[in-house]
């Protein structure tokens, strides 16, 4: 009889504990999402403005471009017909098997 009561009390206690923990979770979860978004934003902003930014500015000082944009704009500016083909050589044939393990 005592055993039964004791077991019932434990089950009830666990149930109540679950309810309390779920309630805490429902309050903390949205807060944690906001914190995660803020931290993500800060970290990505650091990577972008410092990492990408420094490389970009340094390369531009050396006149390096990563996308060919100015060429197009210049061709359009001249309003003439550029006779240069824009097809670029990129021969792709069967390679040795090891080459296909590469992700680049």
């Amino acid at each position: 009889m005592h055993h039964k009561l004791y077991k019932q009390n434990i089950v009830h206690g666990i149930y109540m504990l679950k309810k309390v923990l779920n309630a805490i979770k429902s309050v903390l979860e949205p807060i944690s999402k906001v914190i995660a978004n803020v931290i993500n934003f800060i970290l990505l902003a650091i990577v972008y403005f410092i990492g990408v930014g420094m490389v970009s500015l340094a390369m531009k000082l050396f006149g390096k471009h990563f996308l060919e944009l100015k060429k197009q704009n210049k061709a359009m500016e001249n309003k003439g017909v550029s006779h240069e083909s824009n097809w670029q050589e990129h021969t792709v044939t069967k390679q040795p098997l090891e080459q296909y393990y590469r992700t680049f």
């Binding site: 990408v52 197009q72 083909s85 824009n86 990129h90 021969t91 792709v92």
Partner: protein, 577 residues
Amino acid sequence: MNILGISCFYHDAAACLMKDGIVVAAAEEERFTRKKHDTSFPINAVNYCLKEGGIVINQVNYIGFYEKPLLKFERLLSQHLEMFPLSFWSFYNALPSWLNEKLRVPSVIRKKLKYKGDVLFIEHHLAHAASAFLVSPYEEAAILTVDGVGEWATASYGYGKGSDITLLKELRFPNSVGLLYSTVTAHLGFSVNNSEYKVMGLSPYGKPAYYDNFKKIVNIQEDGSIEFDMDYFDYHYKMTMPSKKFIEEFGPIRNPTDEVTQKHKDIAASLQKITEEILFKMLNHLYKETKMKNLCMAGGVALNSVANGKITKNTPFKDVWIQPAASDAGTSLGAAAYVHNTIIGNKRKYVMKSAYLGPSFSMGYIKNFLDNNKIAYKTFKSDEALVKMTARLIYENHVVGWFQGRMEWGPRALGARSILSNAANTKMKDILNLKVKHREHFRPFAPVVSKEDVYDYFEIDKDEEPFMLFVYPFREDKRKLVPSVVHVDGTGRLQTTSKEENPLYYGVIKEFEKLSGVPILINTSFNIRGEPIVCTPENAYKCMMGTGIDYLVMEKFLIKREDNPKDMWDSEKIARD
């Protein structure tokens, strides 16, 4: 030998299984998750392919992945390095998914599939090329692939011979026919990577009054190569596509709820004209380089069926074969085929004659579903009875959901997951739009015709068109017979079928011909607006009950919507474009 091809993480995730050189299963992930153009890892599609192939994952010899992720990342980084600091928001939105999964593809595959074998990476446009050539009927052919962008390439050309493919040249980002089409799609108020075909359907309503405006922003060489004035575009650094200068040139961006005006139709017509000009110049150049009469095409732009229907008239190519899943879903098939045939060196022995590569459902499965859900239905005693009754229902102007056999591979419904109705009824287009599809008024419905009758009805230079990838003009004297499938310019995006390809589908058409004198039906995709085409009996029933489809013919079962009022609901409440 079992090769699994996978494409995912950008749009149209899919999987394909090749067993000893035969494609035994292929499906897009969206059909299982019910999320249109689903980008996520195609676990459901993979599981289906393995089940259909009767194998488990550790029996897969190789997995072929449809692109080189690090090359693509290089292009993405280049965009940000070039456009710093303007590209911050684009960077912020894109980078997490790259760090979480796109840069870790081998480990993602191994973890999600519990796979211990080898993963091979195929360049994106090579996967497109393989998806067309290696399953085509040609021993040798010229190949053109055109899409938005892969790693760097936006178009590439070459040739295939036997089991080998050689790509010769490519166009590079940001110069892209696909992205041009998508930019205009966005400008016209439609969704990108989803509604480009609507712009194509709109184009015959307009005149190319903006052709010269497009010539200002796209420099086209005689060999088809192009250069954009990137001042008119934003996609290389922003989440939007047309720039302020584009808007100054073509007018404000149309709000999706605004009326489509003549100006919009003229822009669509001008875009279609310039797209065709670029494509035909590319193809003529390709012919000069290869001197091959056969042509294979793939890539999202190869879904432009209006342009496709004009290829043989505007180029020296005699025969054209296009992969039905020409967009990124098809690269999973291409990756598998390339691994099997080219890398491993097996001789080709499979020709893709049918797009019925998805799951089918047994009579027992369907009966259990109907009985467990207390759905009222009737059972046909024979195929003959099924065909006769379906034809009669269509002749009597009912809208019939048609669910038979294996699901189609690719974006088109081809008589496995279709809605069929009476093409001879002048009002059927409006009835379908009102009751079922709720589409924009300018969008045409497509015809399916029996193969032996195609010359009678279409100005066409071949006797079969099973994948609905080409638009042809109707013969003038036949247009009034099938008004609901004749577009405003007298054309139709047809599908042909035969007894050998799909006996029941063909049978319904022939029975309908006996009743009406016309061997053509309306064939439109079986789906709720904004959702993928239905996959399972559950999807099909839910679609019927949420729309105005009158009857559902599901294998040998006939379900009438009115007999099941308890399950009726209004799909328009949740529909989205």
